[in-house]
Symmetry: C2
């Protein structure tokens, strides 16, 4: 139930973009954050496809946040970059579920857990994670 490096890198990169007002190139982000450049590229592309960041091509281009940091949650990023909670085999379609004893009970546990994770991570925005004065609501 661990969090992948992919999601960790992605979150770090988005936080980095949140600190800037100009587009930043993959290379510059990779260097300041010490992340593998080629891998970071794929991560940013994935985040672009879901509208979290936007890219400007060509010389002097780069990535920037597609919307204000306050409107991007940690959940938005993790649900895109991390594998979904449910990974085990679900009952075959068309058959009655829960024939295997315990299957549906565990499913229900995962469902509850998933909801809770979504709720928790949705309540934290990228803006909350940016450096600022200590009187802020969420100060990390």
């Amino acid at each position: 139930m661990k969090i992948s490096k992919k999601a960790y890198y992605g979150l770090r990169a988005v936080i980095a973009l949140g600190r800037l007002s100009e587009p930043a190139s993959i290379r510059s982000i990779a260097e300041t954050e010490h992340l593998p450049e080629d891998y970071l590229e794929k991560i940013l592309q994935a985040l672009r496809r879901v509208g979290i960041v936007e890219a400007k091509k060509g010389a002097d281009g780069g990535y920037s946040l597609a919307r204000p940091a306050r409107e991007i949650s940690v959940w938005d990023i993790l649900k895109e970059l991390d594998s979904p909670l449910r990974s085990f085999s679900t009952p075959i379609k068309g058959t009655l579920p829960c024939l295997q004893p315990g299957h549906c009970q565990t499913n229900e546990v995962w469902r509850i857990l998933e909801k809770e994770i979504e709720k928790t991570l949705s309540s934290i925005s990228i803006d909350d994670l940016l450096p600022k004065d200590a009187r802020q609501k969420h100060a990390f």
Copy 2:
């Protein structure tokens, strides 16, 4: 951030034991739950080491719960069988943490998430997952 089959199998097995009053052999559990026998053996051994189940050796032996189902939580099982939430590299001991920008903020997010997961899963006991009449507090 998915849950491993190991944890899924383990939870299913413990629920199965919760339904019984007599020790059950690995083989019988594997058969009724349709789980791989050799793998299940290792899982039950791990749960035995942390005192969730107990084993009786020899002919007519088998596994049973080491304490009442009400006193075993889903968290007890998952924290043993699943990988821990934090898997990325932490700052090198002896150096100042948070030199890499964004590192400590993400760490804080994981910490909050971990607490929430623990809280959620600790609130569900194996007894809650056993089949019983619908007026029970937790009825799955």
